[in-house]
């Protein structure tokens, strides 16, 4: 039986609030937590498989050209080597999120340094790793395009990503205060702690792959398409994913190459990317050049807003970092110009890294807003509050909900913002200059088609979907929704995830996982409630489900009794509808930071940081908070240390390891504070929840950079704010 909901109308019933179990929103521990803290949760490369052999990819050392010849026989003769493979179906780069079809394939034509050109399969990992270093691949190099800002390179301006409204030039000319500045952000790597890995095994024409994937429904189609087989023959299993952050949205080299190799050698094959290969063959966030123009009247009201972005991508890819995604609606200004340009480069493929668009777009816009606040002599919080629009400033749609104003106020109060001294260099502790900064947060929200099967049996509830838990808390929040709706204690709920044999969901990405799949669970539960009500002869509205009992009037019946040995199983389906179009949906928040800048060395340390967020209904206050901590910490990395450094001569990523690509370490992160605002967004989903996984990074780096300016008076317009850039003007 299927229950179906198309989200055409807002749902203001807030049904979850009228339930009795009292688990929704509660800060419960992760259900799968005991497995993770004891090392027994099984990740992709850890499945026990008989006769397993190992494969290692071999990379291109040139940026552009083609393969002339592979000298395979010396390697084939090496100890333990089973095969050297350069199959035409090897991927050039991973699929983009939600592609649902294979990306560009073929290892003959070379597009970037690091592109996998072949793989070596051997009995042991040690043998395969060494043999891979011995494979000589003769290549012919042709001219590569390497400079993202070269004037001589063509720039594409995709239609539909440009906005021009009013007369920005005139607004700039007439403004009382204006900013016209160019900013740069570098490339970033998701750098999930679990490297991409797959174990592929064939049973006749049926393929099973244990892999580390975020979006199984799409990944199954992508893998099948890449291999040229029917999707029905492909099963992907991914119950635990060691972090994704966008890097595991689309099928990647590991799964495709392992499947090809397993077929070729007639044995199961494991293939894990080395950390270096993760850096150079999986998605990077594009670097960007962004020009911001802000025109304001004497009171700081924006009259004009311009955001021009230049990003890079490999030839033939449709994705490009949507830098100005939130600029379209964040602040009111009559005269607007948003330009999005793409240059085609021979660098590692660009794709989604946590909050594509807002992560760098909001960061730059919010840095510029701080510059405007300084120039106009207006408090940065007040400047933002003054420019919050009452409807989408471009298409005039109403907002589904809008909590920026509340987030700014609450943040200013909690952070004691009023004690900030606007004049730079006014607070000193020994060698350290102390400063405060803030920025707004915003991230677009979307609902995706999702399915879940919920079964209420005598023993409890079982939830099944191919949705993944990449650290997001999915196991737990889905159980909380079902537990609340069906009045079943948490210890009697089982969530089964991460298997393409289960009902398909949209996966983890774009912050839509919990609200979309959670809505599917909710829809299924509503139907189960209706059926219980029918059995009891009451209206669903008059039914109370609590602690495994159905209560109507003064009658209480154990659910087990009611169901007997005929479990109720319902497939819940939710589909986006009119609410996605009628209103502008976004999550909002505000960041506040206190930093110290060393007056001698220009080292920056974050001393305190606060994030206030509104993302609709919070499904689990503990896991939601952790998502925000994660986003904010990504923000610290973006602000201060993270940068993919490309060699100017071949575009290769020179710092392709965790020693030199500086993720924040524990000592870089102080005790962050997170405040979640109470909100229900009826337009977003039937559970009134929105996405929260990416909001915490969307603008976060700016509050730190703005605090650096407040501390020492140096404005850095090129991220990350490393000490050399401050030192130059200190």
């Amino acid at each position: 039986m299927t229950a179906y909901l198309k989200m055409d109308e807002p749902d203001r019933r807030n049904r979850l609030d009228s339930m009795a179990q009292g688990v929704i929103g509660q800060p419960l521990d992760r259900m799968e937590g005991p497995l993770k803290v004891s090392g027994t949760a099984r990740y992709a490369h850890e499945w026990p498989v008989e006769r397993l052999c190992h494969a290692v990819l071999v990379r291109s050392t040139i940026a552009r050209g083609h393969v002339v010849r592979i000298d395979r026989s010396p390697v084939e003769a090496m100890d333990g080597v089973l095969a050297v493979i350069d199959d035409d179906r090897l991927l050039r780069n991973p699929a983009q999120g939600t592609a649902g079809k294979a990306p560009v394939q073929g290892p003959r034509e070379i597009f970037y340094v690091g592109q996998p050109l072949a793989l070596v399969v051997a009995e042991s990992f040690e043998q395969a790793r060494h043999a891979a270093t011995q494979l000589r691949i003769e290549t012919m190099a042709t001219e590569a395009v390497l400079d993202p800002e070269s004037e001589s390179t063509d720039r594409e301006r995709p239609e539909g990503k440009q906005t021009s409204q009013g007369d920005l030039d005139r607004a700039m000319a007439e403004a009382s205060h204006s900013i016209d500045a160019v900013y740069h952000t570098p490339g970033h790597s998701s750098a999930a702690m679990e490297p991409h890995a797959a174990i592929a095994q064939w049973d006749g024409d049926d393929l099973t792959v244990h892999a580390s994937c975020q979006m199984l429904k799409y990944n199954q189609e992508e893998l099948a398409d890449a291999l040229g087989i029917d999707a029905g023959r492909v099963r992907i299993v991914s119950p635990y994913v060691g972090g994704g952050f966008g890097s595991k949205l689309g099928i990647a080299h590991d799964a495709v190459a392992a499947a090809i190799a397993a077929r070729a050698v007639g044995r199961p094959v494991a293939l894990a990317l080395s950390r270096r290969q993760v850096f150079e063959t999986t998605m990077r966030r594009s670097e960007s050049r962004q020009r911001i123009r802000l025109a304001a009247d004497a009171d700081g009201l924006l009259t004009g807003l311009g955001h021009e972005a230049l990003v890079s991508q490999l030839p033939g890819e449709t994705f490009s970092e949507p830098v100005a995604q939130a600029t379209h609606f964040l602040y009111a200004a009559e005269n607007r110009e948003i330009i999005h340009e793409i240059v085609r480069l021979n660098r590692t493929c660009a794709g989604s890294v946590r909050a594509p668009g807002e992560a760098i777009g909001m960061t730059v816009l919010e840095t510029a807003m701080d510059e405007l606040a300084v120039k106009a002599g207006i408090d940065p919080v007040a400047l933002r509050k003054r420019n919050i629009p009452d409807k989408d400033p471009e298409d005039q749609r109403p907002f589904s909900s809008h909590m920026l104003d509340q987030a700014l106020d609450r943040g200013a109060e909690l952070f004691d913002w009023q004690r900030r001294r606007p004049e730079p260099r006014s607070t000193r502790r020994g060698e350290w200059l102390i400063g405060l900064g803030m920025s707004s947060a915003a991230r677009v929200n979307s609902l995706m088609q999702a399915e879940s099967r919920v079964t209420l049996g005598g023993e409890g509830v079982r939830i099944e979907t191919d949705m993944t838990d990449i650290g997001t808390g999915t196991y737990t929040v889905l159980a909380q929704i079902a537990g609340e709706m069906l009045g079943v204690p948490m210890d009697r709920i089982t969530t089964v995830l991460g298997d393409t044999d289960l009902p398909p969901g949209p996966g983890s990405g774009g912050s839509w996982g919990a609200s979309s799949t959670g809505s599917a669970v909710y829809v299924a539960c509503e139907e189960i409630r209706a059926r219980i009500a029918r059995k009891l002869g009451c209206r669903a509205e008059d039914l109370t489900l609590k602690d495994g009992h159905a209560i109507t009037g003064n009658r209480s019946t154990a659910l087990g009794e009611l169901i007997g040995d005929a479990p109720i199983s319902v497939r819940g389906v939710v589909e986006p509808g009119g609410t996605s179009k009628k209103v502008r949906q976004s999550t909002y928040g505000a960041f506040f930071a206190e930093v110290a800048v060393n007056d001698v060395t220009a080292e920056v340390r974050v001393r305190r940081m606060l994030g206030v967020f509104a993302a609709g209904r919070i499904l689990n206050a503990k896991t939601a908070r952790s998502q925000c901590l994660g986003g904010m910490t990504f923000g610290i990395g973006m602000a201060l240390t993270e940068e993919l450094i490309h060699d100017p001569r071949d575009g290769s990523i020179v710092n392709r390891d965790l020693a030199e690509y500086h993720l924040p370490v524990n000592a870089d992160v102080p005790q962050l504070e997170v405040e979640l605002l109470e909100e229900r967004d009826p337009w977003a989903s039937p559970i009134q929840a929105k996405g929260i996984g990416e909001l915490g990074i969307s603008g976060a780096a700016a509050c730190i950079n703005n605090a650096v300016f407040n501390a020492c008076g140096v404005r850095v317009r090129s991220y990350p704010v490393t000490l050399d850039k401050i030192l130059a003007e200190l």
């Binding site: 090392g39 635990y240 994704g244 650290g471 808390g473 952790s626 524990n666 005790q671």
Partner: protein, 168 residues
Amino acid sequence: MHTQLTINGENHDLEADERTTLLDALRQHLRLTGTKKGCDHGQCGACTVIVNGRRINSCLTLACMHDGDEIVTIEGIGTATDLSVLQQAFLSADGFQCGYCTPGQICSATAMLEEVKAGWPSHVSDRLDGAPELSDEEIGERMSGNLCRCACYPNIVAAIRAAAGSAA
């Protein structure tokens, strides 16, 4: 080549290529997959195990170098149904998300608390003598060899603080 290892109190006879790291020996040969491979170059800490009482990166040492050594991995610290105090603290404080760095964090923290007990100073200790205080700053510095990209650092620090407090 043949190596004898004592892992979590049990004897294991390992027959493996000399090139096999302790990490790969645990994961591939002995099927103790709780120890994770995050970078394979000593840059992330996911592979942290305790050898003869000291925390080390198991990726940067060869199994054959540990003949006769006593090794404790996450599997020896506690099980899903019988968690150690630290494991329980990580669970309660939500000191993890994806869970991949977590066994390394917990092995590292387990041994780190012993280092503090032994009076070892750290980079952020004000003084080199005397008993180090287990402040948040001290925990953060001492745990900086364990990267967490889900970025649970504040929760990891809280978990360790709680576990150290309850053990005292």
